[in-house]
């Protein structure tokens, strides 16, 4: 179930997830795989390094032509999807 009220800021990605630069993500504990676009890979790697939401947002707006609000919305949505796919320990 998708729970939108979860506070995504305090959640950590599962430890054993493997991601390739081309955007192929594998979850060894379930055998499920996923495909990410390049920005998705970037978000994912920043999350994996344990960055906070604020750190991720400032990194992205530093590198890309995009405003803060859009990134914030997208990050929130992205993390909700990771919860949905059970890639984050809620």
């Amino acid at each position: 179930m998708f729970v939108s009220s979860i506070n995504t800021n305090i959640m950590k990605l599962k430890k054993d997830l493997a991601i390739s630069d081309s955007g192929f993500l594998f979850n060894p504990s379930t055998g499920d795989s996923y495909s990410l676009n390049p920005i998705g890979v970037e978000f994912f790697k920043l999350l994996q390094k344990g960055n906070s939401d604020d750190e991720i947002i400032s990194q992205i707006i530093n590198d890309y032509a995009i405003d803060k609000n859009s990134v914030e919305k997208d990050l929130y949505d992205f993390k909700n999807l990771l919860v949905n796919y059970k890639l984050i320990n809620a």
Binding site: L25, S35, L36, I39, F43, Y64
Partner: protein, 453 residues
């Protein structure tokens, strides 16, 4: 300052290896940036969003192709443009320039055809709802009147009683062609003898001139063989009229109903892969007529009232992304500035929708909603699209038939319509509706005008 990289929304999508999911292979990420050489974004900039766009080039190509396909198989062919399919005057005029007559089903459409300059004897008057005044007008103009029911037949006989010239009529015939559902609401049935009954009445009462036989077996017919059956039955009637009354009918009108290349809702394969080509319909109809046993110099004209198959792919609906949402079950949803109000055919078809901007190959499954505040306002239930963001644009394909004529003025004003001519120049053929225009016919009683809040 360093140049920043181009951003798009982050995506993550499960890979279901081996399993075909319901989103199938219909990944529609190839952007449609231009229509007939004009940039889609320029059209939207100039005329606003949403916007209907018709390609004059495509309309002419479709018509000329269909005409060629039939004329190479049968000696006497006449198309009549089915007004209800799209009666924008500019669109009708293209067909008339190409040589097509008009086929109408109401007084409103009849007058539209007259105003467009179609001679009365080239307006085929179909439909169950013709008043005595409508019939008198059609008689005066020498239009072929296609009789739908016995009441109309009796009324016409009465109207003709005092005339010196016989009104030209045909009867509409319905029949079993092996397809379901059978369209038996319109016309006289072939199998149970109603059609013969009507023919006998017309010929023995001798007030009307039976010039033709008409049928329209259904719409979006995916089985050409149904047309072979229908054409054989029509030919059988014509040949037996000749035997019994020594009288030849001038034409057999096979109506419309050829499928366009749209994808019907719920069908697994794309319409473009499964819909029969016009050649297959033509082959079915013309071989039945040619093999029916008419005398060589008494072959009837073949009339065709083809609608959607001639126009669907010449029409596009351009629009803009308003917002993205995440539904409670995690699915993504995108809200567009057009919905079922102006794209009625989303109830029938999974319309192909393309992005306009280059957004990469990565896609996500999403639902496309229209802007109305209603549950039924769904443009596409499931579609795989690149990550659309507010302000991005999309194009809906194959919307040329029935959308403009059946669009609803609900909640918002209906959009402008543009036709791109064969040289690639856009022309406004209908302006966007205005509040004044919509309210022009409204009347407010005096005692309701004043209020204080």
């Amino acid at each position: 300052m360093k140049t920043k990289k181009i951003y798009e929304r982050p995506l993550i999508k499960p890979l279901n290896s081996g399993l075909m999911n319901k989103f199938g292979k219909r990944t529609e990420w190839t952007p449609l940036t231009e229509i007939d050489g004009i940039k889609v974004v320029d059209l939207l900039q100039e005329y606003g969003s949403p916007l209907f766009v018709y390609s004059e080039k495509k309309i002419r190509e479709n018509y000329q192709h269909a005409k060629r396909v039939f004329e190479t198989r049968y000696p006497k062919v006449q198309f009549a443009w089915s007004y209800k399919t799209c009666y924008l005057n500019a669109v009708c005029d293209v067909y008339h320039q190409e040589g097509s007559w008009a086929e109408v089903v109401s007084r409103f459409e009849y007058e539209k055809a007259l105003k467009n300059g179609v001679p009365g004897n080239k307006i085929i008057f179909n439909g169950p709802d013709k008043t005595n005044e409508d019939l008198e007008l059609a008689i005066k103009n020498n239009s072929p009147i296609h009789i739908d029911h016995l009441d109309e037949l009796y009324r016409l006989n009465e109207l003709a009683a005092n005339l010196t010239k016989k009104p030209k009529v045909a009867i509409r015939v319905n029949m079993d062609t092996g397809i379901y559902p059978m369209w038996d609401r319109f016309g006289f049935n072939y199998e149970n003898g109603q059609a013969w009954d009507a023919i006998n009445k017309i010929i023995t009462l001798d007030k009307l001139e039976l010039v033709g036989l008409h049928t329209h077996i259904g719409t979006f017919m995916l089985t050409p063989s149904a047309y072979a059956v229908a054409a054989s039955k029509m030919a059988d009637l014509a040949i037996n009229i000749k035997k019994k009354y020594k009288k030849s009918v001038a034409y057999i009108d096979m109506g419309g109903g050829f499928a366009s290349k749209n994808t019907l809702k719920g069908s697994y394969y794309m319409g473009s892969d499964t819909v029969p080509d016009i050649e297959e319909y033509a082959e079915a109809i013309t071989s039945s007529l040619i093999n029916a046993g008419f005398d060589k110099d008494e072959m009837p004209y073949l009339y065709l009232e083809t609608g959607r198959a001639l126009i669907d792919d010449a029409g596009f609906l351009l629009g803009t992304v308003i917002a993205n949402k995440r539904l409670s079950d995690g699915r993504r949803a995108t809200i567009l500035d057009f919905g079922v109000n102006i794209m009625f055919t989303s109830f029938w078809y999974d319309h192909k929708i393309s992005p306009v901007e280059e957004l990469g190959y990565h896609t996500e499954d999403t639902t496309l909603y229209g802007p109305m505040c209603m549950n039924i306002d769904v443009v596409r239930e499931n579609i795989s699209m690149p990550p659309l963001s507010p302000g991005n644009h999309v194009v809906a394909h194959f919307v040329g038939a029935y959308n403009v004529t059946q669009s609803m003025q609900f909640i918002s004003l209906r959009p402008a319509i543009v036709m791109i001519d064969t040289k690639g120049k856009p022309h406004l053929i209908k302006t966007k509706e205005s509040l004044e225009g919509i309210q022009k016919d409204e009347l407010v009683p005096e005692h309701l005008r004043i209020f204080k809040l």
